[in-house]
């Protein structure tokens, strides 16, 4: 029995002022109190033990969590590294896709440069001869003839300048195309850009495949004027759509359909604060099950080695980055229209 209660019992038993009955009652109370104290002590002890166990468990849990945190940290670092590697791989893919489409353009570029060069070289040479002739006329005092020659030489010089600039534009366009996009919006004549890529793609394909032929139709909205876009990016989208269009009309032609005239049309249009560029072909159209996937990276219907499967997916991303939309409408057996919509601020 608890010591304090023991003391109380001793005092009680020596107390004379209480009857035996009362003493017995008090004793019973005290015993009851003692029992309760014992129980409380037992419970306390048990709680203490639980507490200790819990503390140990808690410590273990904390340790485990710490380990898990470290593992997650490591996973995170690994993921971050993978992401960086993926980004680098993606950049490389974009670059190689760019270079692949540049390869497609090489023949077109050669053609487009040799033509102006033909004029630059020959008009300069002929002008040189004509100046000698002009002097001869001056010596002979035939001033009328000399003046006519001078006028011809002047107009030749204008032609030289015009064709020199033409070659310059082609080379600049080519450099822009191969350069990694600086992502800078520049004032751009979208009609000239679309026309240039249409010609390059067409001549490039013609140089590679002699049997290729298609009718080109253009419908440019001259009211568009100058807009602010990243020209090499949008140029790539247009080039990609045109190249695809040529591919599908050629495919349809080679399937031997009678009276088929392969036609590719490019148009631009200003609609409110948007410009709309469309590239239309009269190929076979896109089947529904293919349609769902055409904007997915690495999806291609071309034979292995002929397509990277990145063209449309990159085009989609580029148009998106301009805040616009790239959509397609297609009809089985009739052809497809790819529509680029870009919101623009004029001036």
């Amino acid at each position: 029995m608890e010591q304090n209660l023991q003391n109380i019992i001793e005092i009680l038993q020596n107390h004379s002022g209480l009857s035996d009955d009362e003493k017995a009652k008090l004793m019973a109370y005290l015993k009851e109190a003692d029992k309760k104290i014992t129980i409380v002590e037992f419970k306390l002890d048990r709680t203490e033990k639980v507490k200790r166990t819990t503390a140990i468990l808690l410590e273990e849990t904390i340790e485990e969590l710490e380990q898990k945190r470290k593992a997650i940290e490591e996973t995170n670092a690994a993921l971050k590294k993978s992401l960086e590697e993926l980004k680098a791989a993606q950049a490389q893919l974009i670059q190689s896709e760019k270079m692949a489409s540049l390869g497609e353009l090489t023949a077109g570029i050669a053609h487009e440069i040799q033509n102006p060069l033909n004029f630059v070289n020959n008009f300069s040479e002929v002008s040189y001869e004509m100046i000698d002739e002009m002097w001869e006329e001056i010596e002979k005092e035939d001033l009328e003839e000399a003046k006519a020659l001078a006028n011809d030489i002047k107009s030749n010089l204008e032609k030289i300048l015009h064709h020199g600039k033409r070659a310059d534009t082609i080379v600049k366009g080519m450099l822009q195309h191969s350069r990694s996009s600086a992502g800078v919006k520049e004032p751009t004549d979208i009609n000239a850009l679309a026309d240039e890529y249409l010609r390059l793609a067409y001549h490039g394909l013609r140089a590679k495949d002699k049997s290729f032929n298609a009718e080109l139709k253009t419908d440019f909205d001259n009211s568009i004027g100058i807009i602010h876009i990243i020209p090499q990016d949008i140029g790539r989208v247009i080039l990609n759509l045109i190249t695809n269009a040529f591919y599908v009309v050629d495919e349809k032609k080679n399937s031997g359909i009678e009276n088929y005239e392969p036609t590719v049309s490019v148009s631009t249009k200003k609609e409110g604060n948007k410009i709309i560029i469309t590239v239309k072909d009269n190929g076979n159209g896109i089947p529904q099950k293919v349609l769902d996937k055409i904007f997915q990276p690495f999806f291609t219907t071309k034979p292995t080695g002929q397509g990277t499967g990145l063209g449309l997916s990159l085009s989609y991303d580029i148009v998106k980055a301009h805040g616009g939309e790239l959509k397609v409408e297609t009809e089985q057996g009739k052809g497809s229209v790819f529509v680029i919509q870009i919101p623009i601020k004029f001036n």
Binding site: A110, H111, N121, S155, N156, Y202, E215
Partner: protein, 126 residues
């Protein structure tokens, strides 16, 4: 001697007229121009094949120079006009195709007019 020049580049006319201005003046040469294969065929149909020499670009929208060449060589037999192909993209394949289709010569841009004049001189002396 009449030469038909076929090219989709419009400035080709001024260039040829200036390059051959003496020959034109002395009535040694007559130049005609067509800006597409289709136009060239129409010209040959209408003028009953009076061009002796045809100089044609290969890379033109619509009917290509090679199509035109094969058309001319199949259609006109006695005597077929001489056809020289001119191209800005003088790769081997183009050359072989042109030769197979019966081209009489193959020139590349930028054109060497001194060389062309020599060739024309040889034709008219034959």
């Amino acid at each position: 001697m009449r030469i038909l020049i076929v090219d989709d580049e419009k400035d080709i006319q001024t260039l040829f007229e200036q390059r051959f201005r003496k020959e034109i003046k002395n009535n040694e040469l007559e130049l005609a121009f067509a800006y597409s294969g289709e136009e060239a065929l129409k010209y040959l149909d209408e003028k009953e094949q009076n061009a002796i020499l045809i100089l044609s670009d290969i890379n033109m929208p619509g009917m290509s120079g090679l199509d035109l060449l094969s058309n001319i060589k199949q259609k006109y037999h006695r005597p077929p006009p001489l056809v020289m192909m001119i191209t800005a993209y003088g790769d081997e394949e183009n050359y072989n195709t042109a030769m197979k289709l019966g081209a009489d010569d193959f020139l590349t841009k930028p054109l060497d007019f001194n060389q062309l004049k020599e060739k024309i001189k040889n034709i008219s002396h034959d």
